[in-house]
């Protein structure tokens, strides 16, 4: 039975915390994790495995735990798949086990175990193929067996934050090596960030009770942390995991700010994502112990020796009354001694090695612990908890066991199969790993980024060496960061050097015993239920690369990402293939180091903050007047302004009609505006636009089309010449950013010799467009210094002046085909301008109109919208805008227009379309075919780009791109959508005022 000791451990026995696991109530103390508290309460069964639903307990005490995954909290606050070893206990904690039905103890899924012989690695690739269409039914069933926890309900009650930071030294890992490095760097005044995933600093010192500077190790830890906390430029972050190591020493950290509390403190996020750019990184990430691959090594009570030790020292929990120990290296000897000292019986320490240093053997002897050398555990007994182990003699080649089967009674087995340096982040940083035959582990090799790997992460397991290593790395980091040392430097910390040990005996799988035991499962990946024989099978079937083995068997693909299984798997595969481990390869470690909450990665950028909302200065007026908005890029633009009782069609008809017959008002602020200056500005525009710009007079405006290199229309807009070397470009609302990037990319990469400077000025002014036959009357009524007579202010010119007391720049341009003025004022004056116009315009019943009416108005006169009439495959010629294409000069895209297919005569060309049914507004995006009633595949000759009802024409009309359409006016085609079709007649794409006299009035 596991349980709590009367004394010891870093827990607060005076405070009792109540918690629930699977509906049963238990008690623990501050300092407990959910895992330790359950153990203290005698609970061993904590989960079920993925495939066979075998009963499972704890393997580890840290982030590498594969078995004890729980669903914490409930409802919208639930979080599945949490490792019980990383969950700090708080009062009222509620957790449940996963992947079992109906209960953890009686799990129906366990029947899978009966069919285990049928489910070797990759069995699903070999079956479920009959009958041909049945996979979806098999899949339905398989999916229900698979998966781990249940997702929470939507509506996360917590918030998450991001924080950016720069530092001289980022130390990852707060064990002895990392602390020594951080201490050194902090004392020299460097900007230091120290992080550790644990609830407190100390790393291995928290679990193993070693001494530093002749005092308890944890005293030294407390000193160092206090130093860092006191320093001005240093910060120590517990509960913080470095999850990703990206290029240019960019490291992401995930801080668990409020997870250890019933709910985050008010005003605090639950988790915080740090994005750190560090000059130097010190990787002091420690090492993870390896399990031994032996028969039934997954039984609850079989644990890593370091975990047994950690529970003992940190939380004063004994994992059993009689704990057998098996090891291949020296580290487990301390565990045996400490267990014994705590009053736990240790029936034997079973070491795979033929011999060990006499000092070690003597230590055991002094405690009366039996040492069994050259022996192996060949079988674990007990299904829901260890009842005993069988031990046999191990042959020198490690392939066989022989002799008597000795049964040891015990209720737990602590095992140590050696140590894997935690090289994940080093590997993520681009570093290559090198296999060390003696340690039987991967060590950081060459490459990577400006970082040092120290301590156990670099394969140095001796405390004194770790301290020295960390101290040196701290110094080196200072030098690299260019920090000249200030003040007296302290001595490095000291610890007793351990005596030279015996190297581990790396045996990747322990042979099984005779009889029934021969077929017992030896698990490599506990979470995904991958056994040694699965790996051997994969290798036999030709899956030789470790990547193939992983994918075929799923080893290392669980939520623990193979932290305890990868190297064992490699060893077994190498053994099966008769190759060196280094030849089989290692897998590249990918971010994140441990699973990272999506909510934390999203941060505050969710809901309405997903993307910034851009609003014009007149937005409040639009809202107050009932506008319905539509997103255009990041902008919200009024789509229409319904009056009481109006639907969209009625409102749009009214707005269109009013503008055509009297006066309309549009918020045109969103149009992209780019200020272009420099002595080569005209030359630049000449290259960017298809038409000529050099002779445009100051004070005049011109419509321009820009193409991509492929000759296809990319953007359009009116650009005005403000001065000899100064232009004001407008772009489509959604494309403004792309156009600016386009201009910059040409200036910066292709034409750096041009003296041209571009600036986005979109948000500097508010723009109101007045449009309609009464527009001039309105402008004149406003009062000011501008003469709006056609002679003084002709079409396609601009003027600066004062309008109703507001300084304004007025462009006489038109997108509606009516007499129009676009009035630009400083953004801060936008509302004043708008309200002035509404007041003054009342005489002509001025009507604000939205994007929908604007679309109808421009379509009536045949103006295109880029992105609607064009889709990246349309040339100016296709649009009937050949007049815009200069033959005299070069411009981007010109050469492409001459390509055989681009110059073809029967390309899709812009036409007008009048449905035979005058009230039928065909859907935009409908396809056009020659005849109705053809069976697929039906040849398509075009598609509808815009389609509206025109209150001015009194009928529906559309624009379309149709093959050779320019020469087919008058012919009838069929418009097709959703299985319907309707006849329509092709016509020129101008439905009103074909010679454009209204705009020039």
């Amino acid at each position: 039975m596991s349980g709590r000791l009367k004394s010891g451990g870093a827990i607060d026995r005076d405070e009792v915390l109540r918690f629930h696991f699977d509906d049963r109530e238990y008690f623990g103390h501050p300092g407990d994790t959910l895992a330790s508290a359950l153990l203290a309460n005698g609970v061993r069964l904590m989960g079920r495995s993925f495939k066979y639903h075998r009963p499972r307990g704890l393997l580890a005490a840290g982030a590498e735990e594969p078995n004890a995954l729980v669903r914490l909290r409930s409802g919208r606050a639930a979080e599945p798949n949490l490792r019980a070893t990383m969950v700090e206990l708080y009062d009222g904690l509620v957790a449940e086990s996963q992947n079992r039905w109906p209960t953890l103890r009686f799990d129906v899924g366990e029947v899978n175990s009966l069919f285990a012989p049928l489910f070797p690695a990759g069995f699903y690739y070999k079956t479920f193929m009959w009958p041909a269409s049945a996979w979806k039914h098999y899949e339905w069933a398989i999916r229900r067996f698979a998966g781990l926890g249940r997702a929470p309900e939507p509506g996360d009650p917590d918030v998450y934050e991001h924080r950016h930071a720069h530092c001289d030294v980022l130390v990852i890992g707060g064990g002895p090596a990392g602390l020594a490095a951080a201490r050194r760097a902090t004392r020299a005044g460097a900007r230091v960030i120290l992080v550790d995933e644990g609830a407190a600093f100390g790393g291995s010192l928290r679990g193993n009770g070693q001494a530093i500077d002749d005092a308890p190790g944890l005293d030294w830890v407390a000193d160092v942390v206090a130093d860092i906390e006191a320093a001005a430029d240093a910060v120590a972050l517990p509960r913080t995991t470095a999850i990703g190591y990206h290029d240019h020493n960019y490291v992401t950290l995930l801080e668990r700010v409020g997870d250890h509390l019933p709910r985050p403190e008010s005003g605090q996020p639950r988790r915080r994502l740090w994005k750190v750019r560090a000059r130097r990184v010190v990787l002091a990430t420690g090492a993870i112990e390896r399990p031994m691959v032996l028969a039934d090594n997954d039984r609850p009570g079989v644990m890593l020796a370091s975990a047994v030790q950690s529970y003992l020292n940190r939380q004063a929990v004994k994992v059993g009354e009689r704990v057998a120990i098996t090891t291949n290296n020296d580290s487990a000897y301390d565990v045996a001694v400490q267990l014994k000292a705590a009053g736990v019986a240790v029936p034997a320490l079973i070491d795979l090695r033929e011999e060990v240093a006499p000092a070690l053997a003597e230590r055991l002897a002094a405690q009366g612990i039996e040492l069994l050398l050259a022996r192996a555990v060949v079988q674990v007994h007990g299904k829901y908890g260890v009842k005993g182990v069988d031990v046999m003699r191990l042959a020198p080649d490690g392939e066989r066991v022989s002799g008597e089967v000795r049964r040891l009674d015990c209720d737990a087995l602590a095992m140590s199969g050696g140590w894997n340096p935690t090289v994940h982040l080093f590997s993520q940083s681009g570093g290559r790993l090198a296999f060390d035959e003696t340690l039987g582990a991967f060590l950081p090799g060459t490459g990577g980024q400006p970082a040092a790997v120290v301590g156990a992460a670099a394969g140095r397991f001796d405390l004194a060496a770790c301290l020295a290593d960390g101290d040196a790395a701290g110094l080196a980091a200072l030098e690299a960061a260019g920090i000249t040392r200030k003040g007296r430097m302290p001595q490095g910390p000291a610890a007793e050097a351990s005596t030279a040990g015996t190297p581990p005996r790396n045996l990747w799988q322990v042979p099984t015993g005779p009889g029934k035991a021969a077929t017992a499962k030896r698990f490599v990946d506990l979470q995904n239920d991958v056994t040694a024989s699965d790996l051997a099978l994969a290798a036999r079937e030709g899956y030789r690369s470790i990547e193939h083995v992983k994918r075929y068997t799923t080893t290392g693909m669980g939520t623990d990402q193979g932290k305890t299984s990868n190297v064992n798997a490699l060893g077994i595969v190498a053994g099966t293939l008769g190759q060196e481990i280094s030849a089989v390869g290692t897998t590249t470690f990918r971010p994140p180091y441990t699973p990272a909450t999506f909510g934390a990665i999203a941060g505050r950028h969710t809901g309405l903050n997903l993307d910034p909302i851009r609003r014009t200065p007149m937005q409040a007026w639009h809202e107050a007047h009932g506008a319905v908005f539509e997103p255009v890029g990041q902008w919200l633009r009024p789509r229409y302004y319904p009056r009481a009782g109006e639907d969209m069609a009625a409102a749009v008809n009214r707005e269109v009609k009013a503008t055509r017959t009297s006066l309309g008002l549009l918020d045109a602020t969103t149009l992209g505006k780019i200020d272009i200056q420099g002595q080569d500005a005209a030359e630049f525009l000449n290259r960017i636009y298809t038409n000529g710009w050099k002779r445009l007079g100051v004070g005049r405006c011109r419509y321009g089309l820009m193409l991509h290199e492929d000759g296809m229309v990319f953007d359009d807009g009116v650009t005005a010449r403000l001065g000899e070397n100064h232009f004001h470009m407008t772009t489509t609302s959604g494309n403004a950013g792309a156009v600016l990037s386009w201009l910059e990319s040409w200036l910066q990469t292709e034409w750096p010799e041009l003296r041209v400077y571009c600036n986005s000025v979109t948000e500097q002014s508010a723009v109101a467009g007045v449009s309609g036959p009464n527009a001039r009357l309105l402008m004149e009524s406003l009062g000011g210094d501008l003469d709006f007579s056609p002679e003084a202010f002709p079409f396609m010119t601009w003027q600066d002046g004062t309008l109703a007391g507001l300084p304004a720049r007025v462009f006489r341009v038109s997108f509606t085909g009516e007499l129009s003025y676009e009035i630009n004022v400083a953004a801060s004056l936008g509302t004043a301008l708008w309200e002035t116009l509404m007041r003054a315009g009342a005489a002509w019943d001025i009507t604000p109109f939205g994007t929908e009416a604007m679309h109808v108005l421009r379509a009536e006169v045949g103006f295109i919208i880029v992105g609607q009439e064009t889709d990246g495959t349309v040339t100016p010629i296709d649009l009937g805008l050949e007049a815009m294409v200069s033959g005299a000069k070069d411009f981007i895209g010109k050469r492409s227009l001459a390509r055989a297919d681009t110059a073809r005569g029967n390309r899709r060309q812009l036409v007008g379309l009048l449905p035979e049914d005058p009230y039928l507004v065909v859907p935009e995006g409908a396809q056009i075919v020659e005849r109705a009633g053809m069976a697929p595949p039906v040849p398509m000759i075009g598609h509808v780009t815009s389609s509206y009802f025109s209150p001015n024409l009194g009928q529906a009309f559309a624009m379309a791109l149709v093959e050779g359409g320019g020469a087919r006016h008058g012919e009838t085609v069929q418009v097709c959508w959703d299985g319907r079709s309707a006849p329509a007649k092709l016509c020129p794409p101008k439905f009103l005022d074909p010679d454009g006299s209204r705009a020039r009035a």
Binding site: G149, P154, Y543, P595, I601, A602, H605, G607, S896, A926
Partner: protein
Amino acid sequence: MTKYSLLSLVRNAGRGHRDWREAWRSPEPKPSYDALIIGGGGHGLATAYYLASEHGLTNIAVLEKGWIGGGNTGRNTTIIRSNYLEDASSRLYDHAVDLWEGLSRELNFNVMFSQRGVMNLAHNEHDVRELRRRVHANQLNGVDAEWLWRDEVQAFCPVLNCDPAARYPILGATLQRRAGVARHDAVAWGYARGADRRGVDVVENCEVTGFIIRNGEVRGVETTRGEIRAPKIGVVTAGHSSVMATMAGLRLPIESHPLQALVSEPIKPILDTVVMSNAVHVYVSQSDKGELVIGAGADLYNSYAQRGSFPVIEETVRALVELFPFTSRLSMLRSWGGIVDICPDASPIISKTPVRGLYFNCGWGTGGFKATPGSGWVFAHTMARDEPHSLNAPFTIERFHSGALVAEHGAAAVAH
């Protein structure tokens, strides 16, 4: 070669699974072959398979520099659909879907083609217009496609955030019911096994380092395992196509970018279809293991390193949490990147080249997994007959000179 079936599983179970043979051999490369395929991704392996099975060319080899399927084949989010806009592409991709439907049986290897439907979401009027245009074109081309309005979207995928007050509300979606996902590794392995069974040498750890070209004709390749001769060589190296082209003295209009993907921890089934969004950029499905498989966007810079940048992951995860609010408290388990070969018109090149006997199949960019069987099938035809099949005739290299592009920016806008 043992046939895979429930029966053979049962039989082998009795013998402790000791008798299974290797799925494909690991032969030493021979000094010469009748044809070589460079690149052991899905497309290269499928090409070899169909060269052997459809055209009787069996003295051939696939040369792979690492392990088969280790390129984009083993890194992609496995979305399979054929709802492309242009006639030429919808035919090509739909032919692939036809082959997918029979692939597990054809290969006797379960590739787990799961026709759970794919939705493309519309978040603004422009999306609606363009997506419906695609639906109408698909329907007329005989490709299955439906348009769903918001309520229908919500009914089809209840966990999707269809709140009309969302920042970019869902207005509707296209749905292709025949579309779905498959198991990527199984595709590589299944084709390798099928090709191997017909005599094809699948040679791993064999990097091609140069071409042997005489008088405008290809004669063979130099590799890290020696020179190998062959009169016909097909290059199917995805992200490294421009590198290979340079070796052959050709230039391709291809840019290589990192494209990332990620998975969540496994959870019980919650998402039964595939959801793709361009405006709120992410694409998501749930694997049979229970992981949410999440596709990110391409990084803007060019690179051959199989790692992308974190900002792209952030953007993707925001979109994920926005569209699927239940994911906020789930965790990202693993992320990775592949190198995708992007053509200016977002369509592939499956073509002869100016070098006689040298063929290129590339430019699949962010979305070539879905085409794997079809791509191999037409490329095998092209290599065997030295002329394209009518299905891939429009996908020549020459189109970039003539301007006869197959523009699929809309259909391919969401990387997938």
